[in-house]
Symmetry: C2
Subunit: 321 residues, 2 copies
């Protein structure tokens, strides 16, 4: 997996993103060089290799999927008014809002450009998958914004939202890699479902780590979701199990944003602990993990060829150990 | 031409744009039903027919090109803070900025969806043309924004900007229509150049009508460009021909935005009139018109098959008569 990651990093180091008008492309170059885990291109290449694909053919698609992902981050940061991304100022802060809008739009088109370099006898199918994914990611972001102002959100709603906002892009990257290698349809379906459940597990784990992560090891636990009143899986699960009194308490706590929020965090965590939320979320993650594993097992390729994807799954879901 | 326009209107009347989440698709439906001249899908269909193409095959591409065009208007209106579009509130005003960003992004993806419905043996070429056009339109918008704060803009810069911002989409629509009909490459090149020069003529005429249009007949003349200090072809041409004294006058006038701007408009128009700007712009339009005509003539199809495009060109450039 490390080899693939190095390969992807090398691709981005070698790629030239700045053209005229520089004012349009500079923020694109800036965004793409902020780094990140490059999970999606790595998954695309890994899926392609698993079915005996050729790196040269999918190189551009791998760049394209990462350019698309970074486009969504760029516009999300503007919509969410996030000041920082990977420790650096976001584009709308470093430049301005119009720059974030227009350079973002251009990144979306640039992603397509990478997908359109190479001919392929399944190109239409590949592009349909990419475009369906893009539309679903937009829908996911809309649901996420809708949920901010709704107090009717159910756990099912939440799972649907994170499927669209996070999981389909992982699944889509895998499917595109497999399509380039001309994999059989039923294998592609299993691979896609593997990606969906992996993505769901990954997002649930992200929710869990925010409240219960080991700060010393992972520097991750900020309990920011509670401070921001985010309706995560933990909150929705707690609401469902809470006594009427605890429900009122939770809703009241999640309707405030005190300057000094440590007391609020403690009160919420106390309720989560009373209800055993941590172990419930861990079970939900394990259940998604098990489903992902089942779908990976069902793919008709020798076990050794699945090792890189299995390793990737372990890396992604291993942060809490 | 009227038949084609009716056909395009019918397509949009029949099309269903609203899906879940409604909050995402409602602004898209609203934008697409504001109407407009539907010039780009009409040109796409006309080009396709000229080469013996089949309407059923290109119907979706015609919708796609109009969805893309309306996506650019939606984001441009946000970036330019325009309150109205076709007499109705713009999306960011009727809803909010985030809606304009996200529903716009979704429209861009939706445009692709229409292009991806139909298989075609030249699909990669068609999509490359669409995507190159999309990137160039973004670049044109960037140059337009750059020019607002620059006093070094030349006429060549301006022509490059309107080529990217306006002309390439007309040319691209024609080229895509022709590609669907599998037209020969040299004919497609001439058709593309026809579209470029038609687009340039169209934009120059738009600049001219703003200052010299016949209000009674066309309700168009608002001299808004002068009030907004827009560096149009008229202004740049005037700057080039002006005496040092007139230059200073023009630059000073274009550095102010008085509440009561009629006196400013009169002063600017007086300079334009002294320099004979109107007739110079008319000559520039005629020259673009002549180039467009030459390229249309050079296409190897019977003259009668060119009649609809010739008629469309006359309609587009006839508003001042």
């Amino acid at each position: 997996m490390q080899t693939l990651l190095n390969q992807v990093s090398q691709i981005f180091d070698d790629e030239q993103f700045i053209h005229e008008p520089v004012r349009l492309y500079e923020p694109i170059d800036y965004t793409l060089r902020l780094g990140g885990k490059r999970i999606r291109p790595v998954m695309l290449l890994a899926a392609n290799r698993m079915f005996g694909g050729n790196d040269d053919t999918v190189r551009n698609a791998a760049v394209g999927i990462e350019v698309f992902h970074n486009f969504t981050l760029l516009h999300d940061d503007l919509m969410d008014r996030s000041p920082l991304r990977r420790g650096q100022p976001t584009v709308y802060r470093k430049w301005d809002e119009n720059t974030a809008i227009l350079s973002g739009d251009t990144m979306f088109a640039l992603a397509w450009q990478y997908f359109l370099v190479q001919p392929h006898h399944r190109l239409q199918e590949i592009l349909q998958c990419f475009n369906r994914t893009a539309i679903e990611v937009c829908e996911g972001q809309q649901y996420d914004m809708n949920f901010e102002t709704s107090d009717q959100v159910t756990i099912d709603d939440y799972m649907m939202m994170i499927r669209l906002k996070t999981a389909v892009l992982l699944a889509g990257a895998l499917k595109i890699g497999a399509l380039y290698a001309d994999a059989p349809t039923d294998d592609i379906d299993h691979l896609y479902q593997f990606g969906i459940h992996l993505g769901l597990a990954f997002q649930l784990q992200d929710d869990l780590l925010d409240s219960y992560g080991d700060t010393a090891t992972f520097g991750k636990q900020t309990v920011q979701d509670i401070r921001d009143n985010k309706k995560t899986y933990l909150y929705l699960q707690a609401l469902q199990l809470a006594t009427p009194q605890q429900q009122t308490q939770l809703r009241t706590l999640f309707a405030t944003t005190p300057d000094e929020s440590d007391a609020k965090v403690s009160s919420v965590l106390a309720i989560y602990n009373q209800l055993g939320i941590r172990s419930l979320v861990e079970k939900a993650i394990q259940s998604q993990f098990a489903l992902a594993t089942q779908h990976l097992e069902a793919i008709h390729v020798p076990d050794i060829q699945k090792a890189p994807l299995r390793q990737l799954m372990d890396t992604l879901l291993d942060r809490k150990k």
